[in-house]
Assembly symmetry: C2
Homo-oligomer: 367 residues x 2
């Protein structure tokens, strides 16, 4: 391996994030506004910003909270939403996305954030950062509004790979638990395996095998395994981490988002129906705002790529400044806890062939 260790907080205790300014639906101005918002709230943050230098310099100059905290890396090329991942892998050098990942690869930044094309971002991350030893398939994890006290569950994989065998699902459990510890501050997360029923005899054979593997590693890897869970448990409170293959996870994610969006629209329609209901909606404004904030997808903006030598946060393509700032906040938290190194240690210490290797971390087993 020639990939250098990614450094955590640099000498001065500051966190440097690598930001792809291009590729989102709202262009670089939304990205610059988002990082400015984060910079204002969080004095520990610095940025390396990738994209066309002239344009970025102009945008950054307007934000006083970014003064002296942004290094601009000129990259003229942009990966669009329509570019094929395979093409970007071959010809993507010179794009802002490539440059943003490179800064993590070179250890200049701890975490990369991009609003761009998911498939291309994953493909570039795979070839430039490479997979962690012991990981066969990287995964994308999202936070999902739930009934749990901490308001969110982790679900993975939501679409890095459409296949996953029992060993892959075990890796997802390990990585998801590690993410829940570092991203949600849960010391001992509860892990559930998604299936069509909770009874042991249900589901495909690879799921039964995966359930055994995940159960076997629970004590060592410091999580509780709650067994099979169903679709209704993704927003529920029986598990903190929901493990599934990328095909099922992607469909569940989009079904949940689509359902929430339909209900939101119908709710707005209902309140527009009559003068009385319009008046009611004014009175209920703060209540409805509170609800909206609780389930606003912009505030849980960021799929995290797990299983690579470096952490990449994928923001929604349609993210506005609020969304970008939420993704930056998540990236900061993961950088601050040294998540990349902890995850690597966890996976390495549990990977079958490396079971006898010494643990790299503190003896509490948390990672």
């Amino acid at each position: 391996m020639t990939v250098p260790q990614n450094t955590s907080p640099d000498e001065a205790g500051r966190i440097v994030l690598s930001i792809d300014a291009m590729g989102g639906d709202r262009g670089p101005s939304a990205v610059v506004s988002g990082i400015a918002r984060s910079a204002k709230k969080n004095p520990e943050l610095d940025f390396i910003l990738h994209g066309p230098a002239a344009e970025l310099e102009r945008l950054v100059a307007r934000k006083k909270h970014l003064r002296g905290r942004v290094e601009i890396r000129d990259a003229a090329g942009v990966v669009t939403m329509h570019d094929k991942p395979s093409q970007v892998m071959r010809q993507g050098k010179g794009t802002s996305m490539w440059s943003a990942i490179e800064a993590v690869r070179d250890g200049e930044a701890t975490v990369c954030v991009s609003c761009g094309n998911t498939g291309a971002l994953m493909a570039l991350s795979m070839v430039r950062l490479r997979k962690l030893p012991g990981v066969n398939r990287p995964a994308i994890a999202v936070l999902w509004p739930s009934r749990n006290d901490h308001n969110f569950n982790v679900m993975l994989d939501v679409g890095a790979d459409i296949r996953a065998d029992a060993e892959d699902l075990l890796q997802y459990a390990l990585m998801g638990a590690s993410y829940a510890r570092n991203g949600l501050d849960l010391p001992r997360p509860r892990v559930g395996l998604l299936n069509v029923g909770t009874e042991e005899h249900k589901g495909r054979s690879e799921l039964k095998e995966a359930a055994e593997l995940i159960g076997d590693h629970a004590a060592d890897a410091n999580y509780d395994f709650v067994g099979f869970v169903e679709g209704g448990d993704i927003p529920g409170d029986v598990a903190d981490v929901i493990v599934t293959d990328g095909f099922t996870g992607n469909i569940a994610l989009k079904t949940g988002e689509g359902t929430a969006s339909l209900i939101g629209d119908l709710l707005r329609e209902a309140f527009k129906f009559s003068p009385l209901s319009r008046f009611a909606s004014l009175l209920a404004y703060t209540s409805l705002r509170r609800l909206q904030k609780r389930i606003d997808p912009r505030r849980v903006n960021g799929g995290v790529f797990l299983g690579l030598n470096g952490t990449v946060v994928k923001s929604h393509g349609s993210a506005d400044a609020t969304g970008v700032s939420a993704a930056v906040k998540l990236a900061f938290q993961l950088a601050k806890t040294g998540f990349t190194e902890r995850l690597a240690a966890r996976v390495a210490s549990t990977a079958g062939k490396q079971q006898d290797a010494p643990k790299l971390l503190d003896s509490s087993g948390a990672s």
Copy 2:
């Protein structure tokens, strides 16, 4: 085949439904209240009601709209939610569920309705009604609240079988289109195949093969194929029928239900937060009721078993009188349109080996 043709409307133009009174979470009184509600609204309906005769007679006697319209079939045994399907198949004779299916098998009723154990109901339906010629795997179809003008989409399979190959998915498309024509009055439904992206190169290989098959049969079978759709399109407006395997469909269904239920609870919480928001919720009462009615799962209560010699409607186990009445309404509509025979003709006329068989229906191709 010794199974007799299921008759449509009997001599007097009346529709007879076979109702399993037992096995739901709320017992036979909810079922009897539900069918009484339907009987009041719809004078064309008669019922054969299966369960312990003494108890049912007492419950039916209290409902004036059921007078002279219910035939009670004594069946002492009850299939519980915990019974294994394989066990019910061997030892289920004498249960109300078995008896209810038998009345459809014998041609005494057109459609069977049960609130009982889904797995057991499907297993019994398979052995007693048998699969339609040309169908390899029967499917369960549900109606899903959507942005479409007709307010619902059809999705199948939501859990009859965890596997489906390309041929099975084609059968689901044919059966789902037929259901949309007869259940939603859509002359030419738009069919979509669920995948992780809409681009042609995405997804598993059996999905690419299925997409070709479903596209090839569109003209003959009188539907439009819109290609791949994503999870967000299940409650959307790009397709009327969403085709997927039973594993994915079950997870999507339960994820959607769980998300809707979480939002509903958070909405109630939001409105309880302060005296002002409680007052607002009073003013907004009719608006919120309207929304609730639109997405109330009780009002779209009924998974339909497709691909058997006879139609079975599976009501939610937790259905109250409103839920049972909704399932009965759906069963009535399917009985009235002669859905069972139309579906059989459609599948037979499209099944590969029977492509040259004469069409059994009107030349318009609608079935």
